[in-house]
């Protein structure tokens, strides 16, 4: 398998706090879900993959390149789509201007930009609002505009942090379809704490806790983790999530005692 993301013993500290504490991961094409409770280290890991922050230690290779070097980092960024948890916008831009600005910044060939902008806006279902100012959009629509800027350059690597926050159920269903479509050609990493998004869209999932990956497998394998564990949760995947998390915490506590 051609792994677009190869991570070896990656760590990131903020002062004394270790947000990511030694992660190993290889991810190829498809939709990869990064699950975990708040403060698990998902966002820090995603920000390192997005080349926003540098790792404190460990090795990271993206699209076969080392983001620690200037030239390869620029090349990675050209092929990257990123939507952070807190994404900003300029309220006086129209949806089309917002997406076009990112297409231009990402150095797309000029002749391809108008079609790519229109396509990205259509794919997130904002075609009828392309000429509307961002200030007139609802929170869910803004989120979709953010997704459009992330996919406008037809990226090989798409990193989305809590992409379904603020989307209504109908939009979330359509967004999952878009994720599956993107995953056919690109590596899509979705950080979320909503297990239903993972179950519906992801081919593989990793569960993070305390800065480490405590589970890696398919959504089906995560669901199977709940069998006989009597874990809390309304849906099978939620019960699997709770059971695997509880088991990982118990193992970590036992290791700390010994």
């Amino acid at each position: 398998m051609n792994d677009n993301i190869v991570i070896t013993d990656l760590a990131r500290r903020f002062g004394r706090f270790k947000a990511v504490a030694g992660v190993d991961l290889e991810v190829g094409a498809g939709v990869f879900g990064l699950l975990g409770p708040n403060g698990a280290g998902k966002t820090s890991l995603l920000r390192m993959m997005a080349t926003v922050i540098r790792p404190s230690s460990g090795r990271l290779r993206l699209l076969g390149r080392d983001p620690g070097s200037y030239g390869p980092r620029k090349e990675i960024r050209r092929r990257l789509g990123y939507l952070p948890q807190n994404f900003g916008h300029y309220p006086s831009f129209t949806v089309a201007e917002f997406v076009e600005y990112f297409a231009l910044l990402k150095e797309m060939p000029p002749q391809r930009i108008p079609a790519a902008v229109a396509s990205a806006i259509e794919r997130v279902g904002l075609g009828d609002r392309a000429r509307k100012k961002l200030r007139t959009l609802s929170g869910g629509m803004l989120r979709r505009a953010g997704i459009a800027q992330a996919i406008v350059n037809d990226p090989e690597l798409v990193l989305l942090d809590e992409p379904t926050a603020g989307l209504d159920p109908e939009q979330r269903v359509a967004f999952r379809a878009l994720l599956r479509e993107l995953g056919q050609r690109a590596t899509v990493v979705v950080s979320t704490h909503l297990v239903e998004d993972v179950g519906a869209a992801c081919t593989e999932v990793a569960l993070m806790d305390g800065g480490k990956i405590v589970f890696r497998g398919t959504p089906g394998e995560l669901t199977a983790g709940a069998e006989g564990a009597g874990a809390a949760g309304d849906a099978p995947l939620e019960r699997g999530y709770s059971a695997v998390l509880a088991q990982a915490r118990a193992t970590a506590a036992a290791a700390a005692r010994s």
Binding site: F87, S92, K106, E107, Q111, E122
Partner: protein
């Protein structure tokens, strides 16, 4: 966003862009996102206030250079605020153009500020002259740009204000250090070097790093 929408072919919303057209469009969108048109209006207003002050011979106690200095600090504050990116991290990790856009915006706005203040003082008696005004404006802009890198664009105006107050204090008590360049004579080489160094540092930091992300301010 519906399944039908996903299947729909994308319409061509705009005619094809040429490389030159794309460059111009990028510059226009970047300047708009930094509220540069509003900034130019505020700089013009600063020039109008300076013109009125010189024409009506306003000279507040204790020194005649105080009002021009306040206006110069005002232009630096406005330049600092334009460094704020409304987009945060997604913009920061795009291609190679962003540093050039930041560099040209900072240089163009500082040049414009000095130009409109010089135009406003033409034919009138500007205390310490145009050379001192250019030195003070550039140095204060450098302070503002450095401040934006540390505090973020939204709070970057604070440091020029503090510097202006320190300068007022220095003028009142006769402090003599080239690092407080507005308190030095117009042809003082040390003051000019200090102001130029601070401006250069501010421009370099703004070009390479930009203002601290608004989302994390």
């Amino acid at each position: 966003m519906t399944a039908a929408a996903l299947r729909k072919p994308a319409p061509l919303a705009r005619p094809r862009l040429t490389p030159a057209g794309a460059g111009l469009r990028l510059v226009r969108l970047h300047l708009a996102s930094r509220s540069v048109p509003m900034t130019l209006a505020v700089l013009a207003a600063c020039a109008a206030v300076l013109r009125a002050a010189l024409w009506r011979n306003w000279a507040p106690h204790p020194g005649p250079q105080q009002l021009p200095l306040a206006i110069e600090a005002g232009t630096a504050m406005v330049i600092a605020v334009t460094t704020r990116s409304p987009f945060g991290e997604p913009e920061r990790i795009t291609g190679r153009w962003l540093p050039y856009l930041r560099l040209s915006t900072a240089l163009a706005l500082t040049g414009t500020a000095a130009g409109v203040l010089a135009a406003a003082s033409a034919g009138a008696h500007l205390p310490d002259g145009d050379l001192a005004m250019l030195r003070n404006t550039a140095g204060l802009a450098g302070i503002a740009l450095l401040s934006a890198a540390v505090l973020g664009g939204s709070l970057a105006w604070i440091t020029p204000v503090v510097y202006w107050l320190v300068t007022e204090f220095a003028l009142s008590y006769g402090w003599q250090t080239p690092w407080i360049w507005p308190a030095r004579p117009p042809h003082d080489r040390g003051a000019a070097i200090c102001a130029a160094l601070v401006f250069a540092a501010g421009v370099i930091v703004t070009t390479v790093r930009g203002a601290r992300d608004s989302a994390r301010e």
